[in-house]
């Protein structure tokens, strides 16, 4: 943790501020959300690293998807992700967004979240303990440090592929494309 190294602050204040001021939208439909209250309250206290929950995607910079994603919530996840201001980071929690987890044969949940929105980090487990969330956040810091947490850039450059995947599973989307789609004609 290099929050107290003034030299780094003067070299690149923006990157350091992105690391130590992660405002989080927790997507609370999966079972993983039960691990979030201990991590933000007195027991593990995420606020000491500047991580606080916010109520709207406009104010957020980190998007934590806690648990399985059904088709209905995928729609809201995409809309929430697109409303967040760039730079934005996504972390998924639990096995289900990685490969379907215990819902691997369900007709109504998606199996690979990273097909539909870019995911910067995945915390495996069913469910991961709050400590695992902190380990995930420290990994995210490393990624931000090395400019490897570039999910939002991938979303911009590969938007037509992401949009095609979204339309394939959700049918016709009722909102306009966020970025211009290439190769439509």
């Amino acid at each position: 943790m290099d929050r107290n190294q003034l030299k780094k602050w003067f070299q690149n204040p923006v990157k350091m501020a992105h690391k130590y001021s992660l405002h989080v939208v927790y997507f609370c439909t999966g079972c993983g959300i039960i691990e979030i209250p201990p991590s933000i309250t007195a027991r593990w206290d995420a606020e000491r690293f500047g991580i606080i929950p916010v109520a709207t995607p406009r104010q957020a910079s980190l998007f934590i998807i806690a648990g399985y994603v059904s088709l209905k919530t995928l729609r809201s996840i995409i809309r929430t992700y697109e409303q967040m201001p760039e730079p934005k980071f996504t972390v998924s929690l639990g096995s289900c967004p990685i490969n379907g987890g215990m819902y691997y044969d369900s007709y109504n949940t998606i199996k690979h979240l990273e097909k539909y929105i870019p995911v910067d980090g995945m915390i495996a487990g069913c469910m991961p303990r709050p400590e695992a969330i902190f380990v995930g956040v420290t990994h995210l810091w490393t990624l931000i440090d090395k400019d490897m947490a570039d999910g939002y850039k991938r979303y911009r450059s590969n938007y037509s592929a992401y949009r095609a995947n979204q339309e394939k599973i959700l049918g016709k989307l009722e909102w306009p494309p966020l970025f211009p789609i290439h190769g439509e004609e």
Binding site: H18, E47, R48
Partner: protein, 296 residues
């Protein structure tokens, strides 16, 4: 020298306001037995927010935000901070009373443009709450002006230097108590945190603010915090001749507000209005009558 003060005092107000925001988070964390973020955390947040890109929601969205921030910055020129009082000789209390409305009004215009239902609920709550605390506040200010026979805030401060803090001098005791009772509502801390309730209405008027817009809104919030505390210290706790002493007095008031914030749950807006228009208003009215009867 005057020009330096004109530039310096809004910057000082911003600095102290942001410091108070950070200290509030730290103190709240310590009360809840957490370690808490560093005191510089709001500054880190502001740097991040300024570097993000976000959507604007129209011309009135931008203008209202700037208007609100500018209105709050102008008030800091009229409020004496110890000896630093660049424009407090002109205007006095009446100008401050007018300008205090610009902050909420600008935010109302701005977040009204964002066309989010949560923002509309937040604005209506904000204006209702303002209506709730303005009545006792005006009664308190009227009592002060009658007692000291002046509308100038510097004169009120300098008169208190001879007579002692107005909160503890005889005819103004009731007004002081009333002001202390409405102070949490004016600062917008927890029993009256109905406007920005994140759990109920998704942080109210700020629901569509992101990136640099949220940074400006945070600065405005910091300034509003500063103005509320500074006005109380000037009017009731005798101001100070020395900026350091003034800052210490502000810190004491700030801690009182944070302790109230830490232990009380949030009221509903109708409960808040009922409270504000009953006890503080009655006490303030009694204080005004007391001042008029016992006055020279």
């Amino acid at each position: 020298m005057h020009i330096i003060e004109l530039i310096f005092s809004p910057l000082l107000a911003l600095l102290i306001g942001v410091f108070f925001l950070g200290l509030a988070r730290k103190v709240m964390a310590r009360i809840q037995w957490r370690y808490g973020p560093p005191v510089t955390q709001p500054l880190i947040d502001i740097i991040r927010l300024l570097s993000q890109k976000s959507a604007s929601h129209g011309v009135a969205f931008n203008i209202g935000l700037v208007m609100s921030l500018a209105g709050s910055l102008v008030i800091t020129l009229f409020l004496p901070f110890g000896k630093i009082a660049p424009m407090s000789n002109s205007g006095g209390m009446l100008v401050i009373l007018y300008l205090m409305l610009i902050g909420p009004l600008g935010m109302a215009i701005s977040s009204g443009e964002s066309a989010n239902p949560n923002a509309s609920i937040g604005i209506s709550r904000k204006l209702l709450l303002a209506m709730g605390y303005e009545l006792p506040f005006l009664l308190v200010v009227l009592a002060l002006m009658t007692a000291y026979n002046t509308t100038s805030i510097t004169e009120i401060v300098s008169l208190q230097r001879d007579t002692g803090w107005s909160m503890f001098t005889f005819p103004l005791v009731l007004s002081g108590i009333a002001y202390l009772l409405i102070l949490p509502a004016m600062l917008g801390v927890r029993p009256f945190e109905v406007v920005n309730a994140p759990q109920e209405i998704s942080s109210g008027p700020l629901v569509e603010y992101g990136g640099p817009y949220l940074a400006l809104a945070t600065l405005q919030h910091a300034l509003a915090f500063f103005i509320g505390i500074s006005l109380f210290v000037n009017l009731m706790w005798g101001g100070a001749a020395n900026p350091v002493i003034f800052f210490l007095k502000m810190l004491v008031v700030f801690f009182l507000g944070i302790f109230v914030n830490a232990v009380f749950p949030r009221l509903r807006i109708d409960q808040a209005i009922r409270y504000l228009w009953r006890w503080p208003s009655l006490i303030a009215f009694a204080g005004l009558i007391l001042v008029c009867v016992t006055g020279s």
